[in-house]
């Protein structure tokens, strides 16, 4: 039986370079060999280590499941470590991917447009030059669905306020609405003191 087909990984921008070459190597290129880093592995590394996303946030950006992202990320680190230790060159190519970008809608002229350069922010509508545009969500995900996937509770260590934990958002980044203190996960050793 053939395995289940891979889910397409969403890539925001292709890498600006196509690889790395080792420097100061005694051996020739053919002897040391090459590591082929897939574009999806590059993207996982970019999201997790460069943008400092956690695996859950990165997996939503790439439109794959969290365990899949963790596997891709582990593979990326393994390959880069291999290249560094054995002095291999890295070539970034391949992978089951598709490209996607953010979409905006302009309320002055009624057009829709995307942003192919993720790094540069859009300042005006490319058609009518107005700045009455807003983000246009093509695939809007119900927030309820992702919020109820976990039954944990965030608790405020200062005033004891409790709220349901939002999946993928670290408790310590949540702010208590009453006393504006950072919250912690209820039931962990850290929160038992309260």
């Amino acid at each position: 039986m053939s395995p289940r087909p891979l889910r397409l990984r969403k890539i925001s921008n292709p890498p600006i370079i196509s690889g790395f070459k080792p420097y100061g190597n005694k051996k020739t290129e053919d002897e040391s060999g090459t590591v082929f880093l897939q574009i999806e592995e590059y993207e996982a590394l970019r999201l997790c280590d460069y943008n400092m996303f956690n695996h859950h946030q990165a997996s939503e950006t790439m439109d794959i499941s969290r365990p899949t992202l963790t596997r891709i990320y582990a593979r990326a680190r393994q390959k880069i470590a291999e290249a560094l230790v054995l002095g291999k060159q890295i070539i970034i190519e391949g992978g089951k991917i598709y490209f996607d970008s953010e979409w905006f809608s302009c309320s002055s002229c009624g057009c829709y447009f995307n942003n192919p350069e993720k790094q540069e922010e859009i300042k005006e509508c490319p058609l009518c030059k107005s700045n009455n545009f807003s983000n246009y969500e093509q695939t809007y995900i119900e927030p309820e669905e992702s919020m109820t996937r976990c039954s944990d509770i965030c608790i405020c260590p200062n005033c004891g306020f409790e709220q349901p934990h939002r999946f993928g958002c670290p408790c310590k980044e949540e702010i208590c609405p009453k006393c504006h203190h950072n919250m912690v996960r209820k039931g962990t050793p850290h929160s038992r003191n309260f």
Binding site: D100, C109, G110, C111, L127
Partner: protein, 105 residues
């Protein structure tokens, strides 16, 4: 900067074509020199693969933006990887002249 606009005919009075792959004409407009180039679409009556073939034609002219009524599912990811901006403008009544005026204003 070059902008591609899909058109139903080969004049400034023609309307914006609502399809990308099977539009009548491509108009390559240069915003710096104000020059225009009309290219008849060879893929107008293609059975399949009109979109990617049209992307190839337009990309060979080094355009940075494409204005059309709609883009097919095959083209979106292709244009994203080529870093060409898509502008979806769903107003079939607009003429090419009006759109060029909007770009210049």
């Amino acid at each position: 900067m070059k902008v591609a606009i899909t058109s139903t005919g080969n004049s400034v009075q023609s309307n914006l074509d609502q399809r990308f792959g099977r539009c009548g004409f491509f108009i390559i407009y240069d915003t710096e020199t104000k020059g225009m180039e009309f290219i008849p679409n060879p893929n107008k009556d293609a059975q399949e693969g009109a979109g990617p073939a049209s992307v190839q034609l337009v990309a060979s002219r080094n355009v940075q933006k494409i204005i059309s009524g709609e883009f097919g599912i095959k083209i979106k990811s292709l244009l994203d990887s080529l870093k060409i901006q898509m502008i979806v403008f769903k107003e079939p009544e607009k003429t090419i002249g009006e759109i060029i005026n909007m770009l210049n204003s």
